[in-house]
């Protein structure tokens, strides 16, 4: 199960995964990595529109469309009202110390209004990205690393975790966005240095000073503004267009127009009558505010500009030429901007998630330390291996399976723990043998012996066996990797592949034999005990097939064993039917529920053993 990384952004969110040794963002149907962090609640249904679909119809459904809700994560109503003035949607009526709620329209399930928290809105976005990852991986993702601004306080971090849980994900870790960006550029490979990460997103600005020591990042200082970003550039443009006094749907349309102009001005000098110079004049004070934060962060870290070895640009707003220029000038360095600034954080999150999986494609040297190097299993009837823990499972891990007895009245089972990928236990490495004694005296197939394998963080395997009715228990500890080096592990894996065909044939033959033995034993017992129920000539017919089957069981070909087993099963069917009817009738006449169930147990249970 691959782990995934999610950048839950103010304006856009992304999901990325390490595949084939490289982190990549997963694209939507339109081929875009960016999913707008927008959720639109549709009247009359519980399921909202998410992402682009929500944004496209935002202008006509302004109140029902939530955007930039990350700003309200972990906030209460009082804090929210302070910044809510120019929102295209509305806050709900609630006391100041309550968690923020938005009023998005009529409740589809009742009379009142539908109120949504930023956590719920975030969960919808997370869920959509999670589903995309599940599609692309052909499997449910393992764990998720979600990034948060370094600036987030405890309440905001907790709200982010809650959103993940609400979306049904296993949140492995929250990762600071600047650290994720540094990881994406592989800066940890430089081992030493001081780096600044300048992150100007849609709604938040973060500057972080990271110190790298022996490949580990430490945040020396952070500064920034949780309410400054590209959205503010858009608002400046709305003012510039003379639409500053609009609200609701009109404001939404004005913002859409502003965003288009902003994008155009990245590569051209003029768009819709707005020159780049005029735009830069408008936003210069905002960029200067970010630079003031940068200086503050340096001061807090007790560093000078000259101490910084590099600066990483993150966030779509760092595409604005003025931003690049001013940041480069401040840090006296050419910024890192080779990776897509929108994707950098998600890529770093995916790389961190991959490392946390213990099966990292990126961190090769960790491989044999943190996973089970060879499968662990137990020998079952006929010397066939039943695997409980598969190779490459990250440790610690556990697994259990229920086994039963093979012979009537069997009071002990031998447990043989083996390691390897071969089908027969004799070809695998024997780890331990122990005995579970004191099983209840029952027909074959009825006792239930639960065998549990637990591998702890140090790689120690504990095997325990418990009989479920009497709770008889036995256990043993082994160290599976003891005395095994990489070359031997490799050899065992190669043997398993080289012998695959013969191993599988052998296993199927043994399984067919075991099944045949059980049928023969059951039939013999029935012939002995219930001979009076046989019709004329039936015994001869049954014994005839049985003799042939027993002869086939001595051979090396599984086909006749399977065919004759089936034939024996068919030829004895009327006889078995009569036995069940006889036992049931006897029991019912006695009106004894216990006897009925015992009768069923006796006839059905004994023929069902596997």
């Amino acid at each position: 199960m691959a782990n995934i990384g999610i950048d839950l952004g103010t304006t856009n969110s992304l999901v990325a995964v390490v595949m084939g040794g490289r982190a990549r963002c997963l694209l939507d149907d339109e081929g875009s990595a960016l999913t707008p962090s927008a959720v639109q609640f549709v009247e009359g249904t519980d399921t909202p529109r998410i992402g682009l679909e929500a944004l496209e119809s935002a202008a006509e459904n302004a109140q029902a469309t939530l955007t930039s809700f990350k700003r309200f994560m972990g906030r209460n109503m009082t804090e929210a009202r302070a910044v809510a003035g120019d929102l295209p949607y509305q806050l709900a009526e609630a006391d100041g110390d309550k968690v923020v709620r938005f009023d998005v329209g009529a409740d589809p399930r009742g009379e009142g209004r539908r109120e949504v928290t930023p956590v719920e809105a975030s969960a919808w976005v997370l869920r959509m990205l999670y589903m995309r990852a599940a599609d692309c991986l052909l499997a449910t993702p393992g764990g998720v690393v979600i990034t948060v601004p370094a600036y987030f306080d405890d309440a905001q971090r907790q709200a982010t975790r809650d959103a993940g849980k609400l979306a049904g994900m296993n949140v492995l870790r929250l990762l600071n966005e600047p650290t994720a960006a540094a990881i994406a550029y592989g800066l940890q490979e430089k081992k030493q240095g001081v780096f600044a990460v300048y992150d100007l997103g849609g709604g938040t600005f973060d500057i972080s000073i990271l110190e790298l020591t022996d490949g580990v990042f430490q945040v020396l200082s952070t500064a920034g503004d949780t309410r400054l970003g590209g959205d503010d550039f858009d608002r400046e443009l709305v003012e510039e267009l003379g639409l500053g006094s609009t609200s609701g749907g009109d404001l939404r349309s004005a913002l859409d127009r502003a965003i288009a102009i902003k994008h155009a001005l990245t590569s051209s000098d003029q768009a819709e009558g707005v020159t780049r110079g005029r735009f830069e004049q408008r936003i210069r004070p905002l960029v200067e505010r970010t630079l003031a934060s940068c200086k503050q962060a340096l001061k807090d870290a007790e560093l000078e500009v000259g101490d910084v070895d590099g600066v990483v640009l993150v966030g779509g707003s760092t595409r604005v030429p003025l931003v690049r220029q001013m940041v480069g000038e401040l840090f006296e360095a050419e910024p890192y901007c080779d990776l897509d600034p929108d994707q950098v954080v998600a890529l770093g999150a995916a790389m961190q998630a991959d490392i946390l999986s213990g099966q990292s494609e990126l961190a090769d040297d960790m491989l044999l330390m943190d996973v089970v190097p060879l499968s662990l299993g137990i020998e079952t009837m006929g010397g066939v291996v039943e695997r409980l823990i598969w190779r490459c499972t990250p440790i610690p891990c556990e697994a259990s399976e229920t086994f039963t007895t093979h012979v009537d009245g069997q009071t002990a089972v031998d447990l043989h723990v083996v390691q390897g990928e071969r089908e027969l236990s004799k070809d695998n490495r024997s780890l331990a043998r122990f005995k579970l004694k004191g099983l209840p005296d029952m027909p074959a197939g009825l006792p239930r012996v639960k065998v549990s394998f637990t591998v702890d963080a140090d790689g120690i395997l504990q095997v325990s066996a418990t009989e479920q009715y009497t709770k008889t228990h036995a256990e043993i500890d082994v160290q599976p990797s003891y005395g095994l080096d990489d070359a031997q592990v490799e050899q065992m894996l190669e043997d398993a592949i080289d012998n695959a065909e013969t191993d599988v044939d052998e296993r199927l033959l043994i399984e067919a034999r075991v099944e045949a033995e059980q049928i023969v034993a059951t039939v013999k017992k029935a012939l002995k005990n219930d001979g009076e129920l046989l019709a004329a000539g039936e015994r001869e017919a049954i014994e005839g097939v049985m003799v042939k089957l027993e002869a086939a069981m001595g051979g090396r070909d599984r086909k006749p064993v399977q065919d004759l087993s089936k034939e024996l099963d068919e030829v004895t069917a009327p006889f078995a039917q009569r036995r069940i009817e006889r036992d049931l009738k006897a029991a019912l006449e006695g009106q004894d529920a216990l006897a009925v169930s015992k009768a069923l147990e006796r006839t059905v249970g004994t023929s069902e053993a596997r």
């Binding site: 995964v17 595949m19 084939g20 040794g21 990549r24 963002c25 997963l26 694209l27 939507d28 149907d29 081929g31 995309r132 599609d135 692309c136 991986l137 052909l138 499997a139 039943e386 695997r387 598969w390 398993a496 592949i497 695959a500 065909e501 191993d503 599988v504 199927l508």
Partner: protein, 110 residues
Amino acid sequence: MAIAISEAAVERFEKLKQMRQTPDHVLRVGVRGGGCSGLSYFLDIVEKPEDRDKVFTFKDGAVTVAVDRKSYLFLNGTELDFQKTLMRTGFVFNNPLAGTSCSCGESFTL
């Protein structure tokens, strides 16, 4: 005999490769023990086939399906399909070697 792949499965796989931005990756299918009916199928998209895999290509090499040799013993003749119905959406194995399948279709016996 070999492994076959339906038009719907090809289309889905190409779509997934596009979403993953991994145009060169291959579909790796196989069989392992477990599941409600004894053996179960697995499916993964990986960078390249393993050294000893059996490899099948379709659509002039645009689609590659890899099977390890052990699984191939159970999958010879299988057609890989993709179904999108109200009940389930996903890849489906139409395996002539499978004796009984469990109702979810994820596992089978020979």
